[in-house]
Amino acid sequence: MTGNETAPAPRKIQALTVSVNYADFLECIAPNVKHFDRWLVVTHESDLRTQEVCRRWGMEVLLSRRLYEGGAAFHKAAALNEGLEVLDKEAWVAVIDSDILLPHDFRERLDAQELLPDCLYGLGGRRICRTLHEFSTLAAAEPWADNLIYTTFVIGYFNLFHLSGERNRYPESVSDDASTYDVVFSDSFPASQRRYLPFVCLHAGDASQNWRGRVTDPFFEDQADGNTRLEDCTAQAAEGLGGSDKTVAQIGCYRGGFTALLARHFRHVTVIDHWGLRMTSPSPAMAVDAVILESRYARETAGLRNITPPLPHSDEALEAIPDGSLDVIWFTAEPEYDFFLTSLPHWLPKLKPGGSIAGGFYEPVLLPGPSRVVELLLGPPDVTWPDFRWARVVMNPQALAEKLMPRPPVEHGGRGVLYAGAGEDDVEALLVSFSSLRRHWQGPVCILSAGEESPSLRLACIRLGVDFRHVPWVSEKYPDHLNLLHALEWSPFAETLYIAAPTLVRSSPEPLFHALQGRDAVFFGAQGRNPLPVETGAFAWRRGSPVIDMLRALATTFLTVSGRRCFESALAGMAEEGTLPVLPPGPVWSGPARRVPPETCIQEMPRLAQAGALHLLPEWEEEEQALIAIMQQPF
């Protein structure tokens, strides 16, 4: 079906929800009531608060007699079936959990979809909102496009099906709580009859917590808190940043009202289609939905002469905007690290010196995630509003753009030092080590972030002017050492000196490169109480070294017998067989700090320091303070 065809006849949509001791959540999602012809809430007679919420919002109440039948913990399937018994059999039913908020225009969009009576429909994804403030902020900021959780099959938080269908009752024998019944129900539909609607929802509070009845803390303490609405300061913000001679780029258009507001306060608004309002939809259901969203936006912005149509967020659209021409760049989406990191270098040159980047979702305590993204990439906002909107003045946008613009990866032909971090825990030690290296080595350095990219490491590398690469973590089933060994393969250097994160560089590492003469890899003998025959704080190799290849192959082979110690076993085995080039001890030291030999180039951190107590060693503290001074400089 396409959006041009005749709209289907109106359908009756009933909602069914089980809510016991969930009145706080139910209160949050009660605005769903407008989507349904009737909403039946199944609860327990003892839950007076839920009954009160239902009364206020006009929901019907059914007191369950079977929820705890036979000593059940929380027999949700039985309670749902009690509800299904009393609903209209010739209509659709949307079974929704009592913590699911649907889009404000859910019904209009659902009515446009073709629904087949023998199918089970789920939602495309959900956004988990762990706090009330996150929930409230997002509830007022559709679309919910970021940080969604997808499921691999239609699960119970939202089920839409026709009650006249063959499968219209939940299986009761598979569990006596809120688990499993939905999976079994979903599986009872052939795959071709399990479908996803092209909408997403908000989930109030953590998911997967209260399987056997409510155990989590209240989402909010009392009704007043729950009804707290953020003051909408958008107009105030637009007025403060705008002016009759000012221009703005709005990155992300969904509701026309926001564009119209900007149009009132700015001379010209360049609108960018961040959410794909005009994107070709990959499926018929999405195409139908896109027609609704796009036509609504067109309707709500009709007659505005100082706005562009939604432009694709492409290099061509950006090229058409002269550099230094915008007073404000307004991001309407939730600040998200990857998107901001990618977009800012392209947009900043368009900003006038002293222009502003503006957005929403900034409140460091209540919304720590997006707030951190803003602070990491732009610094703390210069002005904030009570609805979490913010603006940051950028005095030199071009310079900031140049810093943030990713450099194309360069294959260095020569020698260089390589670090590898495997998560946020490594970052501090790694940067301190790098800081100490820079005192003795001005040659190329590359820092690898293996596995999940570490934003703080990338941004630190940008500040420090170091090549940063995000490389894969081969397997979650591998121990960290083995994954790191694989990560080293991504070194861009012909001759690489690897320095472990928790090390202090005390003198020039040149001697370690010199040791490669006549060899393709070099390790150094162990000292002190090191149980391994070699030190692992630093070692060097030439690209394509058979020694490192063999080490990697052996460590992988030993995985089945040595488990987490496979890397150590491979090292020991090769050292024993004499296939590992090991030079006398000296340049790399892992013994007591007070006995460091004078010839030591690389000193491994004592265990305490690795645990974060860097200040225990004066040299470390000095390096750390030097690094902090660099990191505190403005971007």
Binding site: Y150, A191, S192, P282, P284, S314, H486, D549, R552
Partner: protein, 273 residues
């Protein structure tokens, strides 16, 4: 813009890079991918149109395709995604790469091994670890089928070694003791090499036995000039899903629907041996 985010190991990364580059070049989009170590041509710039959003992420998993409402099939991928496409997945289907061998060979050109295979070498690849893609959470609510024995089986390899003329039997394996023990009568030369070295040597071999599920070995075989590739496809062939409809129900006779599908239909690939 097509953006490749690698995951898994060497062989998986070859799929990811090549899939991304094929799409980028087909669509005239810019490719953003870290060059693969040891493959200098993967450092080539692939310029083209750049989109900063909307974000679309493909994992190459059937389940995700269900949510997108499309299958990542060759014909569906002719229309460019007018957005920022992030590839973070496996993309292990022969249909994506078939017909592009010339380009693939150029991208993946690398220095030949110091000691390439001799004309009379017969290589057996024995792997005890299951491919990383098999562990993919979210592929299905259930568990993937167990790989109970190293594939191919020793019995079938013994038969093959007896029936296939060769001067030297080479075993590429991560279980050297077991493999050399059971095939001892054939006096095999055991090579326990890392993934790249193993791949680089294998692609010079004229006869080999591999499992199609091992990503690096599949690539070596596919790009090689081998005359005979004795391939084991551990997924049962020609079984039908018990679930109706184009997407099946997740698993079909032990084969994950949608991914991977690496059975190559060429005369040199022999499955019945």
């Amino acid at each position: 813009m097509v953006e490749v985010r690698y995951r898994g190991s060497f062989g998986d990364n070859l799929f990811q890079y090549c899939f991304g580059r094929l799409l980028a070049e087909r669509w005239g989009h810019r490719l953003s991918a870290l060059p693969l170590p040891r493959f200098p041509n993967t450092a080539e710039s692939v310029p083209g149109r750049t989109y900063l959003s909307p974000l679309q992420s493909w994992s190459g998993l059937a389940v995700e395709e269900r949510q997108l409402g499309m299958l990542l099939r060759e014909r569906e991928m002719t229309t460019p995604v007018r957005g920022r496409l992030v590839l973070y997945g496996w993309f292990q289907r022969w249909e994506y790469y078939r017909g592009h061998e010339t380009a693939l060979r150029r991208w993946l050109a690398t220095a030949p091994p110091e000691e390439p295979a001799a004309p009379g070498d017969l290589a057996f690849c024995l792997r005890s670890r299951r491919p990383e893609a098999w562990y993919e959470g979210g592929m299905h609510s259930g568990q993937p089928p167990a790989w109970k024995v190293p594939a191919p089986s020793m019995e079938s390899l013994c038969r093959l070694a007896q029936s296939t003329p060769h001067d030297r039997l080479i075993l590429l394996t991560d279980s050297p003791l077991r493999a050399s023990g059971e095939l001892g009568d054939f006096k095999p030369v055991v090579k326990n090499l890392d993934s790249f070295a193993s791949w680089n040597w294998l692609r010079t071999c004229r006869r080999m036995a591999i499992t199609v599920c091992h990503p690096a070995e599949w690539w070596a075989a596919m790009l090689s000039d081998a005359e005979e590739i004795f391939a084991l496809d551990p997924w049962p062939a020609n079984t039908r899903s018990s679930c109706a409809g184009p997407y099946g129900c997740g698993w079909m006779g032990g084969r994950p629907l949608g991914r991977p599908e690496l059975r190559v239909h060429e005369p040199r690939w022999k499955y019945d041996w």
